[in-house]
Symmetry: C2
Subunit: 106 residues, 2 copies
């Protein structure tokens, strides 16, 4: 099992709407995440918009590829893209670069 | 169970040594963390020194207070303090301000 952590930046002027949208993530999107191996997946938001993602998965590359192949992900990412800063043309899911785990205690 | 995420900043000139120290966290420190309710606890380091902590616990305030009461934590935090930027006199464990969880998928 891999533990994965990534960072994104939500635009400061869209924080409330970003929070609100994530209280009602489409059931079809949640089902696709579970089916493609995204487990114990949380998003944490700092007041300035820094967003931390944490998940557990057998293989993050495979989990990303699995979502990439779903139509619901394309629709969700298209709706989420305007909330993020400086993604340089990439979709939010394409900009998820994992950080290095330096310590773990079960 | 609470899922907790916090951020700290490791000094850019101490990253290698910080990584190295965390491959050999004292067994007594690890035992104290487990005994005081720090579970599934990971630290992730970005290349610029941004450090993300993630853990699961019944009660983060109680887990922090539990560690605060141990001698090993005082010794560990005293050794770790010089690795961190801008803690304004606080020990690293005192500067752990949890971010807000905005989404969770089991």
């Amino acid at each position: 099992m891999q533990r994965v952590c990534f960072l994104l930046k939500v635009r400061a002027d869209r924080l409330d709407e970003y929070r609100e949208r994530h209280t009602t993530v489409w059931p079809e999107m949640q089902e696709a995440l579970s089916a493609t191996g995204w487990h114990n997946y949380s998003l944490f938001l700092r007041e300035d918009g820094l967003l931390v993602g944490y998940l557990e998965t057998e293989d993050f590359a495979a989990a990303q590829a699995g979502m990439e192949a779903t139509g619901v992900n394309a629709r969700w990412q298209a709706e989420m893209a305007p909330f993020f800063e400086a993604l340089d043309g990439a979709r939010p899911d394409e900009a998820m670069k994992p950080l290095t785990e330096v310590f773990h205690l079960a």
